[in-house]
Amino acid sequence: MSAFREGGRFPDWSSAGVAVALLTLPFVLPTVTLASELVVFAIAALSCAFLLGMVGLLSFGQGLFFGIGAYVAGILLEQHHWATLPAVLLAAVAACLTAGLLGLLAVRQRGVYFVMLTLAFAQMGYFAMLALKQHTGGENGITGVPRAPLLSGLGPLAGPEAVYGLLAVVAFLAFLLVQRISASPFGSVLRSIRENEGRAEALGYDVRAYKVAAFALAGLVAGLAGAMHTIFLGFVPPNVIELEMSERLIIMSIIGGAGAPAAAFLGAGFYVLMADWLSTLWPRWLMLIGFMLAGIVLLMRDGLWGGAAALSRRLRMGRQTRG
């Protein structure tokens, strides 16, 4: 049930489940905007969950790569009038390369020290954004990002439905990529590193190289999510690269459970919907999210996904004993 832990198959029923969810979300939820926001954060949480669930790396820096993706896409679209797809692609590659470079440093440390380094990177990202004010707009962000055509020559991305369609396709591809990796030889190496790093090294695996590769890959996915965020909002708010963004992504993946790629989608969905609902009830709604996170960590260590898996196991066993 926990695909990151055991490898799983590709594709499996959860691939179909995610496809169905992506197709029905805009009809089930009150607005397409809410569905779009959910999908953007699902991609971003996937990046955290991949590192945490599969390699055992807790990164407080995924907000940085999300931010880089958002800004690079914003700059290319607004200042250089690129088409959407090339802008998204370059944004993701920029985040991937940055993550690869920072990864080279971060993997020199383990445990808490690794976490601290990623935290430091995330913090530096925000100030780098302020320092590069003439490109990033400083505290004002980048406004008026146009809805450029997918490729130059095609018509513009007309309307929120078209944007949602693009988001959903990208989310599904990111999901399949992570799921494919999870059930591959490379994925099995990452799992062995999470299980017992010293043993993986003694078997002949260059543990640091695999960690850097995983970190770069997670950066790619986070950057993709950031670029999607820009396209969906039509502007780049500075909070995309704030430390709080990293925190939010971690919370989403922990709520979801980080046990499988689909768990990240579940966690992001839960967070975005709760935020949407709770914020209408009480301006201090983040406090309620805090309570919820504490409850999940205390009662369901494998998050919502793990809880759902345990429930379905119990139901199935109940049926077997009765049958």
């Binding site: 591959s184 030889p185 099995s188 190496v189 078997l203 590769a213």
Partner: protein
């Protein structure tokens, strides 16, 4: 004398002010069964860590097949034909027994570990043969952490030989084993040479004296004797330092 496969030359290791190893010189002949013995704290495992690349020595050199590997990290040495097992059981407890072995085989399968676009295509016959060799074929689908202590020790050896190494380091493979397991594992280890070179740390003197061709004795981080079992058995310094009376 046979060709020297592995040599340590003047190896020393310092941890702060503490000298764990000093001027250790050691020559392991190709295809031999070479044991390293000594009292607890003599530096045997530290020596293994230096020879296999887990620890960089403060001084001295390690030469494998004529090549200086002193600064080579552990994972690179595996690809030069070095493998090891650990004193404290070191496996992937949450994965199945077969997956533990598969990971060990995959590690030396060229670019295969970097493949991310398809399923693993394991060499089933090879995995089966390894499981048979260490007597775990029946339990291949078990979670490795659920194996008995003896089973986990056997798996550990299986993972070390999975890389088809030229030289294999076994750190107390018999520790904590029951009588039946000891005999079976002894025969397993004996069968590794002469196709492979074996370097063995072991406290079970009966086994060491029985299967070794050469024994190096360490005490307080220094080699105090080196020779065939018959010579070691009658060495006065060794008796004082280690064997004591009656062993």
């Amino acid at each position: 004398m046979a060709e020297i496969l592995l040599a340590a030359q003047g190896v020393g290791v310092r941890f702060g002010d503490f000298r764990a190893l000093s001027e250790v010189t050691l020559e392991v002949a190709s295809g031999s069964m070479h044991s390293v013995i000594g009292p607890n704290g003599a530096g045997k495992t530290t020596l293994f860590n230096v020879l296999t690349g887990r620890l960089a020595p403060s001084e001295g050199r390690v030469v494998l097949g004529g090549r200086d590997v002193t600064r080579l990290p552990a994972h690179r040495r595996v690809h030069l034909g070095m493998a090891r097992s650990f004193q404290v059981t070191n496996i992937f407890p949450e994965l199945t027994v077969a997956e533990n072995i598969r990971l060990a085989v995959q590690a030396v399968s060229g670019r295969e570990p970097w493949v991310f676009w398809r399923e693993a295509s394991p060499n089933e016959a090879r995995i089966r043969a390894l499981l048979d060799e260490v007597g775990l074929a029946e339990r291949s689908a078990w979670r490795a952490g659920d194996l008995s202590h003896g089973g986990q020790r056997a798996l550990e050896i299986g993972m070390a030989i999975a890389a088809d190494p030229r030289i294999i380091f076994l750190d107390e493979p018999l520790a904590g084993m029951g009588i039946d397991d000891v005999h079976r594992t002894k025969e397993l280890i004996r069968g590794l040479a002469p196709a492979r070179t074996v370097v063995l740390i072991e406290h079970n003197m009966r086994v060491v004296l029985d299967i070794s061709e050469r024994i190096t004795v360490l005490a307080q981080g220094r080699p105090i004797a080196d020779g065939p079992p018959a010579v070691i058995r009658s060495d006065a310094a060794v008796r004082d330092a280690y064997l004591g009376s009656g062993t």
